[in-house]
Subunit: 443 residues, 2 copies
Amino acid sequence: MRTIIIGSGAGGLTTASTIRKYDKDMEVVVITMDKYVAYSPCAIPYVIEGEIKSFEDIIMHTPEDYKKERNIDIITEAKVVDVNSKENKVVYEKDGEKFELDYDYLVLATGGTPFVPPIEGKDLEGVFTVRTVEDGMKIDEYAKKSKSVVVAGAGAIGLEMAYAFKKRGLDVTVVEMAPQILPRALDPDMAEKVKEYLEKEGVKIILNKPVEKIVGKDKVEGVVVGNKIIEADMVIMATGVRPNIELAKKAGCEIGRWAIKVNERMQTSIPNIYAVGDCVEVVDFVTKQVTLSPFGTTAVRQGKVAAKNIVGIKAEFSPVLNAMVSKIGGLELGGVGLSALSANQNGISVIVGRCKALTRARYYPGGKPIEIKMIFDKNGNVVGCQIVGGERVAERIDAMSIAIFKGVRVDELANMEFCYAPPVSMVNEPLALAAEDALEKFD
Amino acid sequence: MRTIIIGSGAGGLTTASTIRKYDKDMEVVVITMDKYVAYSPCAIPYVIEGEIKSFEDIIMHTPEDYKKERNIDIITEAKVVDVNSKENKVVYEKDGEKFELDYDYLVLATGGTPFVPPIEGKDLEGVFTVRTVEDGMKIDEYAKKSKSVVVAGAGAIGLEMAYAFKKRGLDVTVVEMAPQILPRALDPDMAEKVKEYLEKEGVKIILNKPVEKIVGKDKVEGVVVGNKIIEADMVIMATGVRPNIELAKKAGCEIGRWAIKVNERMQTSIPNIYAVGDCVEVVDFVTKQVTLSPFGTTAVRQGKVAAKNIVGIKAEFSPVLNAMVSKIGGLELGGVGLSALSANQNGISVIVGRCKALTRARYYPGGKPIEIKMIFDKNGNVVGCQIVGGERVAERIDAMSIAIFKGVRVDELANMEFCYAPPVSMVNEPLALAAEDALEKFD
């Protein structure tokens, strides 16, 4: 029996390793366009920033490791050009040659491609997207000879890159079409706190406007935003990622509203073809709508589910809460579940609790401000939470992920038992205080 | 209407402030033996260590603040000598005089007293307990002229003090009767990791033996442990705390197995007398047995419940999980819910999941080891968790507190959605990995 996995990102390689964990005999072949595998794209901004020494550090395994340690074959720098789901075959090209390979199971882990709007100048030298290690390496080199950069798109990756460039001494402008930064992750009021931090650090931010044009003779010299030209030696297009669904279409898999359609077992409409990661659509836990969840953690959890089902172990992938966290300089920010903005857009009425507190006892040195916005449905169940603070945000988001998943009520959360020691927390846990604030608004 | 509160610890003052929050008219009088109020006893070791500059820092409010800002009267350095619950009166002594005061509601927030075993030499100069700011100040002074210290008792406070003395350059020996350190908080295997850390830091630890005798002519010169004398200039008795229940007895309140008996509303057997904090007994969430919960957080939560009931707002205190955390030097340790040891003692059969991981992505600088032990009942519900690690332990304990409270199942936890960014977490959250490890042991 052979499983072919197309793609070597978090989803693809987790599927491969998990199959091997439970099945010593299955032949596992990964085909990937990438040269480097098993790296963490989320780490690229931190290499650019200099927090992580080199790109080699973020590559955790080589294809040779996979062969030697787990008997997984990885065919790198190879492009799958066709999937024949009737004959259970894929066709791929490598080094100019075409090859065919049969499969019993196929896993589409084709990921996403950075979306670059079709604007003038997008192909000039000095315009980059951020996806692969190679992208990172090229950006790193180009930044060495650059003085200024425009980052188009104020999602987490865009802002992490912006901060990284600032730390390296470049003049940085972020341009975002939406009326706020982090439009997918945070509500406007919470995003504003992140914006203030970045501006204090010297990053310029322009909202409500797209990059209309990139100008320059042979290479980037500036961008046009509104009726102004912003001078820049380089441009980072962090304008979102689109799921790669071409191969799924060729295979005849059903495509949903946003991406490849899968069931709870990560199975496509063709029973022996699975799909995981950024190329699939999922169900939102709160709204029950289909959505995208382009996170490494989602890909990993989906890879485990797909692999288990392939080897015959029961496993299901649950609707997502899109728990996210980012660290930008001295600021951690995170969100999980429904935002108030998105509640509005979905016609869900919510009650909001807030808390401003510190991460340690008031008198304990090094404590940092933390702000929480907690969102409850009108029945009093927690449905979302956003946190911006100097430390210890990630695990609080995780705690709220559990709370939302289990439908914790506002009164339960206000009275929840939390641990305390002066160097690591306040005697009144901010999560409980935010719930207490909301509780007073119910009657 | 007047509420008298006896005691100015976390429980007493939270009750006072919460009454005032909801009722502007109630007269609120706090009577306390303490000179300083509104300080955090948990902070004393960190002042001794030098992390916090001075004892003034940990006193957050003065009695004058309470009067001015909240119209709460605090009578300090006063001892309540009688409670007449028939006539709703307390009698207290201050400056050698006796006073009587009527109440409509009485709140016993009498706390606990450090238990010092009745051994020879316990009254010598140089023997201390750790409870009040004054204790801390005396210890601080005495340590300046001391070269060596024995800490009797290896609970959190004992170990925090031991580490603090070591940081100040004293020779430190911890003596614990039990076969492990942190016997109430952690299982032996997890406690062993903390012991290794402390020993590496130079703290000597003797287990399975009590301090039998303290020797010295006018002041401490050493302690007898087994058949050996350990030389020491000072001795810290961190051998536990006993609930102060004398006034409750005088009032005629029912006493339970360990301390004052209260219902979910924190009401004693006498309807207009409430009790909160270290002087009451509570119900354990998992075992349903009565137990003690001598934590500042418990006292705060109980104070809110008592106050709300006094002013006529419905509120109930839930059974406790005894969530605890401590930071000792570079190590955070915490526990919540049932330990495997205590499960054994209660005849509950459990399945354990474990995980050794890092607090950041493997390649991200500054990541620290973290170890998790997770405990499930035989139905697959999580009932306990212990964590020892270099950072980010407290919020994970909090997440597990929610999980235990809501009865999260092992498979749910293994597949739970957690957030990820390289500087603050691993793509596979250690909590999920520990659950995954346990899941494989179920069939």
